[in-house]
Amino acid sequence: MLLLAASCVFYAAWDWRFLSLLFFSIILDYKCAKGIHTASSPGRKKLFLALSVTGNLGALGCFKYYDFFVSSLRSLLGHIGISFSPPLLNISIPLGISFYTFQTMSYTFDVYRGLIRPACRFSDFALFVSFFPQLVAGPIERSKHLLPQITAPRRITASCLGEGGYLILWGLFLKVVAADNLSKVVDPVFASSPPYRGIVALLAAYAFTFQIFCDFYGYSTIARGIGKCMGFDIMANFRLPFFVTNARDFWDRWHISLSSWVRDYLYFPLLNSLRKIRGEARVYIAIFISMLLVGLWHGAAWTYVLFGIYWGVAFIVYILLRSYCHNWLLFKKPFLRKAWFCLRSLVFFHCVVLSMLIFRSQSPGQFGGMLRGILYNFNAAALSDNFDGIRITAAAVLPVLLMQVIEFRNGDEYAVLRWKWWQQGLVYFAIIFGIVTFGNGGNKFIYFQF
């Protein structure tokens, strides 16, 4: 109850009025899940499920997507000479609505599929949805994973506190040192108007790729750290996403909670429902729709639609190529294997950078302008004019990459905590020194807007 109260206060601190929306979602899914569980016929189960999905997506659509779709439709109809002007809502998007809506929906789906029993106590379920460390920017927890932890008694050990403290510090470093300093390089470029110089646009794209990673990974890490300190194990949302060579692996490691949600609750059901379509086509369609939803989940803008399409196409291209290239260039020597992996990772990293350029652009037009700049107006000589940007990017990215390499080599997120005490002490000192000296707070987490 104390945690539930704390979570409510935490959410109300942003805007107490939207607390009612959060509780609407909680009550709806709590009741629907109970209804599904006790329903005597499949028809009634489906009815409760439909009620939950309609209610949740209705709220999401109303608060997040209504204005976008209406204004897009108005503009489209305007082009063909039809006047259409329904009122716009112009309301701010409730904090974390996409996160908690998907989380509550996953609970109802799991109850419908019989994977879990509904929560006995309302307060347990309310805490599952509103648990403050991950309420506003994820990870989108699964009821199977978090709900049993809420209902079971928890043990807070010294090891939990040690790991939690480490995660909180490292998350803070990622946010206030890396992400916030990178925003100084990124924001002015995306706020400027065309023509864009290629080298500047490319630097901003690189910087933003790391900024969004550090920002979101930082938040998730802090959330996990706080959870650990309270005896909860919150799922990891990122797992070395830059050490991959294809779209599928990337989405297995980037925003894991969303990609796995989409896989389990959209992609697989879609595959199932498209079984009448023969061959690989149904896989492509299911992937494309799923990735489009991933894009749209981030927000109501054409750049996010484009982002989803980009990744849908990237996935399909990967599947098409996979069958042809699976035994292509298999090196026997370990060094050559590693070098080949590094090269492929580097090439794929640029695909990620391109997608992030789409993601961050204010409009598809800006993305087009920047891409044109990179391709046709690169002007490498201008590199010297952007020395500060390069310096900030390098200084912010290097420690993050170093830690990622350490994790990758050891295959352990807590590799640092296995080191000798004095080595750990040095790492802690470096992190704390970095936070207090170069910490540049004041910027909101990017994912708060979603």
Binding site: W421, W422, T437
Partner: protein, 370 residues
């Protein structure tokens, strides 16, 4: 080794952190520019001076404001111009506005009799965010830093104050890069020279960076006592920017680039310290004399409106505070030729003497002291 078990890690990181901060302080003490040291020592003077003695029959006058006042008003010349009726001190601080001046005056008044007059150059638009620059935090007390953080709604201001590695990072960086190149202390002078060379390599006038180091800055290699003696001897006047232009003056015909500034009025919400400063002077029966600033003749045209709205603001202030005075009638920027400037914004010693004489004349007109 496991004397304290797991706690060793936290103890080690804590000790290293404290040590690093002390090291940063030490590095900053070596490489910080003279202008920062001036701020420290002037503020320390205000805090430590006790029972200020003024020769009988003389009026105690303080000059307050920014670096232009610091480089523009010479106490010795001012007193001489006033026929020995005054005893003046230049308490203006570089790169800061009114807020630190308010706290300096408060510190001074704690242990000393009130000055009779304060001559201050007030600028419109000087009370926005830049008030709380790193210079404002130099030598500040905790309460002062908290007020800056609250007023600027930025808790990082307070963190800057608390953590030396934040506040002095440019100096620390300079020290570290210098240290890699050659051992201290011979390297100090070269660090300064390198700094000047870099800073002024793109200016459109010939800059004498070689001479700048020896030009009257406080010297980091001197002890605190020696530097404080320097502050007392000059009564706060510094040739801070002397010799920055080769030949100690800007080339004749130099035309500074004018940056159009928004002519902001006094907004009490933004200027939290203006009201406090005025109240403090009123409460302590100090007469406050507002003076216009100075600029370079060249390139000045009717479009430069920096002074246009100030008199109205001054009138507004005087309507509320009867201890505020300013020159009646002609109220304008004092304009001087480039030869009297040591850089585009600051007067050299000759220029400072001219400006001081002009200000002294206005001071006599206002006060009637002869």
């Amino acid at each position: 080794m496991l004397l304290f078990g797991k706690r060793n890690i936290y103890i080690l990181s804590g000790v290293l952190f404290v040590f690093s901060q002390l090291l940063c302080l030490k590095m900053a003490a070596v490489t910080q520019p003279g202008s920062k040291q001036v701020t420290y020592y002037k503020r320390e003077w205000c805090r430590t001076v006790r029972g200020m003695k003024v020769p009988p029959g003389r009026k105690l006058v303080f000059f307050m404001g920014s670096s232009q006042t610091m480089a523009g008003l010479v106490p010795a010349v001012f007193d001489k111009e006033n026929g020995g009726f005054t005893c003046s001190y230049n308490l203006a601080l570089p790169a800061t506005r009114l807020a630190p001046s308010y706290f300096m005056l408060k510190d001074y008044l704690r242990n000393n009799p009130s000055p009779d007059y304060i001559i201050i150059r007030l600028e419109p638009g000087g009370f926005n965010g830049e008030v709380f620059s790193d210079y404002s935090l130099l030598g500040a007390g905790i309460a002062e830093a908290v007020q800056y953080a609250v007023l600027s709604r930025d808790s990082l201001v307070f963190l800057d104050y608390l953590v030396p590695s934040r506040l002095f990072w440019p100096e620390v960086k300079q020290y570290i890069t210098g240290k890699f190149l050659r051992l201290m202390p011979e390297r100090i002078k070269e660090l300064y020279r390198d700094g000047y060379r870099k800073r002024y390599s793109g200016v459109s006038y010939p800059y004498d960076w070689e001479a700048a180091y020896d030009a009257g800055y406080l010297h980091p290699e001197l002890s605190r006592k020696e530097n404080m003696a320097f502050v007392r001897r000059n009564r706060g006047y510094f040739f801070l920017f002397e010799l920055s232009a080769r030949g100690r003056s800007m080339p004749e015909g130099y035309s500074p680039r004018r940056i159009p500034r928004e002519n902001l009025g006094w907004d009490e919400k933004d200027c939290a310290f203006l009201g406090k400063f005025l109240e403090l002077t009123l409460k302590n029966n100090i007469k406050l004399i507002l003076i216009p600033g100075y600029g370079m003749k060249q390139g000045r045209d009717a479009g430069d409106t920096r002074m246009k709205n100030v008199p109205a603001s001054w009138l507004k202030i005087r309507a509320e505070f009867q201890n505020v005075y300013f020159p009646e009638g002609e109220l304008e920027y004092k304009l001087y030729s480039p030869a009297l400037f040591s850089d585009p914004r600051h007067l050299n010693y000759r220029g400072a003497c001219s400006y001081t004489r002009d200000v002294a004349r206005e001071f006599r007109n206002i006060t009637g002291l002869q």
